[in-house]
C-alpha cells in the first residue's frame, strides 16, 4: 500500500509476487513452491524470492492478511490481531469438541503413519471406531489403502488439513516422541520387580 506505485508495476519480480498473491487468495489449501511455479509458469527460485517479498508485506502487525508457511506450502490467514473479530463471525467446525479419545487416536496416526483401527485399538486398549469416524468426518485423517492388500483392514493417515489446523509446517515438525515421555527403563524395572515377586 505504501511503496511507490511505479516501482511495483515495472519490477518483474513484483509482478510475479502479485500473481502469487492472487493465487493464494483464491486457493482452497496451502500451495507449495512447486505448485506456484507450475501455475505462474516461472521457476522455483524466483517464486521463492517473490514469496520472501510477500512475507515481508503480509506479516503480523503490518497487515490483516498474513502469509504463513504451513502444511508443506504457503497460505494466507487472518492476523492474530483480528482473532476476536473472526471469532464473532466464524466457527471452528474442525476442532470443536475434539475428545481425548480422538486426540489420542490422532496422535497415533500422526506418529505411526498409516495405521488401521485394530492397530490403534491395540495401543489404546479401547476400540477406535468412533474416534476414527469423527476424525474422518472432520477431515483430519483419511483412508490410505488396506493392510496386506485384499481383505485387510483399512489404514488411515493424517491429512494436510491436520497440519494446517495444528499450525505445522509438515509432520516433521511434530516433536520427537522420545522428548515427550520418559524412556521405558523405569517402567520395565517396576514390572520386573512384580514378576520376580510372583515367581518366588
Amino acid at each position: 500500500m505504501d511503496s511507490p506505485l511505479r516501482l511495483i508495476s515495472t519490477n518483474p519480480l513484483d509482478r510475479l509476487a502479485r500473481t502469487i498473491e492472487a493465487l493464494l487468495v483464491v486457493a482452497a489449501a496451502p500451495l507449495s513452491v512447486a505448485e506456484l511455479a507450475q501455475a505462474t509458469d516461472d521457476d522455483s527460485e524466483r517464486v521463492e524470492m517473490a514469496l520472501a517479498l510477500l512475507s515481508e508485506r503480509y506479516c503480523e502487525g503490518r497487515s490483516g492478511i498474513v502469509l504463513e508457511r504451513v502444511a508443506g506450502g504457503f497460505a494466507f490467514r487472518a492476523s492474530r490481531d483480528a482473532a476476536e473479530a473472526c471469532a464473532r463471525l466464524f466457527e471452528r467446525p474442525v476442532e470443536r469438541g475434539l475428545s481425548q479419545a480422538a486426540l489420542e487416536t490422532l496422535a497415533i496416526i500422526a506418529y505411526l503413519g498409516p495405521c488401521s483401527r485394530p492397530e490403534i485399538a491395540k495401543i489404546r486398549g479401547v476400540a477406535a471406531d468412533s474416534a476414527v469416524a469423527s476424525l474422518v468426518e472432520r477431515g483430519l485423517v483419511a483412508e490410505a489403502g488396506r493392510e496386506r492388500g485384499v481383505g485387510g483392514a483399512v489404514r488411515y493417515r493424517t491429512t494436510p488439513l491436520f497440519e494446517r489446523v495444528f499450525g505445522l509446517e509438515s509432520l516433521a515438525a511434530l516433536p520427537r516422541l522420545d522428548d515427550l515421555a520418559e524412556d521405558a527403563e523405569g517402567l520395565r524395572d517396576r514390572l520386573l520387580e512384580v514378576a520376580e515377586a510372583r515367581a518366588s
Binding site: 490467514r77 489420542e104 481383505g151 514378576a195
Partner: protein, 253 residues
C-alpha cells in the same frame, strides 16, 4: 443377598448409555462388542457412586469386582487373542519387558495427545478459510478411461473372506453363553437348586466367567433366584418359583 447399587449404576460411555445391568444384557445377547466398552469409565462411575453414598458398601463392592473382572477378562481376550497366546510362552522377564514396551508406547502416545491439545489451544487465534474462496474459479475433475475389469476385481476382493485365521485365536475362543444357559436350565428342570461353585468347579477360568454371565442372564429374565449367605460363600442357585427372594425380583423388574 441385599439390594446393591451395581445393577442400576448409570453409565455414560462412548459406546453405551444406561444402567449397568442393561449393558451386561446387551453384551450377553451379543448386541454390543466387549471391545467397545471402556471398563475404566465403569469403574470411575462406580467409585463416584460409592463416594456419593458416603459409606462403604462391601456387598456392592464384592458384586462389582466379580462382574468387572469377568468383563475385563472377556475384553482382554477378545482384544489380544494372539498376543495372549504369545505371552504365555514367555519367561516372566520377557513378558515384563514386552508389557513395559507396550505401556511405554501407550504412554508416549498419551503424551503426544497432550502435546497436540496444547498445540491446538495455542492456535486459537490463527484463523484461515476452510474450503474454496467465494469467488474462486472452479475446474472440472476429469478421469482417464478406466477398465471395467477393475470394477469386477473390486467386488471380488470384497466378496473374499478375510485371510489367515490363526489357530491360537481359535484355541482361545469363548464357549457361547447360550451353552451355559441351556445347561443351567436343564439342571434346574431336574433339581430345584444347585451350588454354582460345584457345577463350574472343574472348568477353566474363562468358562467360569462365561457361566457366571449366564447366571446373571437367567436372573435377569426371572428364571432363577440367587442367594449367598456371606461374601465369598457359595452361591446357591434355585428355580425362581421355588425360592423367590423379594430383593432380587424387585430389582429385576
Amino acid at each position: 443377598m441385599p439390594a446393591t447399587p451395581v445393577a442400576d449404576l448409570e453409565l455414560d460411555l462412548d459406546a453405551f448409555e444406561g444402567p449397568f445391568d442393561l449393558l451386561l444384557t446387551l453384551l450377553l445377547a451379543e448386541n454390543l462388542e466387549p471391545r467397545e466398552v471402556d471398563v475404566a469409565a465403569i469403574v470411575v462411575a462406580f467409585v463416584e457412586r460409592l463416594e456419593g453414598r458416603g459409606e462403604v458398601d462391601l456387598e456392592a463392592c464384592g458384586e462389582f469386582l466379580v462382574l468387572i473382572a469377568a468383563l475385563l477378562e472377556l475384553k482382554a481376550r477378545l482384544l489380544f487373542p494372539e498376543e495372549a497366546a504369545e505371552l504365555e510362552g514367555l519367561e516372566p522377564e520377557q513378558a515384563a519387558e514386552e508389557l513395559a514396551r507396550r505401556l511405554a508406547e501407550y504412554r508416549r502416545m498419551k503424551e503426544a495427545a497432550t502435546w497436540l491439545a496444547e498445540r491446538l489451544a495455542s492456535q486459537r487465534d490463527r484463523w484461515f478459510r476452510l474450503g474454496p474462496a467465494p469467488l474462486q474459479p472452479r475446474g472440472e475433475r476429469r478421469l482417464a478411461p478406466q477398465p471395467p475389469a477393475a470394477l469386477a476385481e473390486a467386488i471380488r476382493a470384497l466378496a473374499t473372506p478375510p485371510p489367515s485365521v490363526s489357530l491360537a485365536h481359535m484355541a482361545l475362543r469363548f464357549p457361547p453363553v447360550s451353552q451355559f444357559l441351556e445347561r443351567f436350565r436343564a439342571l434346574l428342570a431336574r433339581r430345584s437348586r444347585f451350588d454354582f461353585e460345584q457345577e463350574v468347579g472343574g472348568l477353566s477360568r474363562v468358562e467360569q466367567a462365561v457361566a457366571f454371565l449366564a447366571l446373571l442372564e437367567l436372573r435377569k429374565t426371572g428364571e432363577i433366584a440367587l442367594s449367598q449367605p456371606a461374601p465369598f460363600a457359595p452361591i446357591r442357585v434355585s428355580r425362581a418359583d421355588s425360592e423367590r427372594t423379594p430383593q432380587w425380583t424387585a430389582r429385576s423388574a
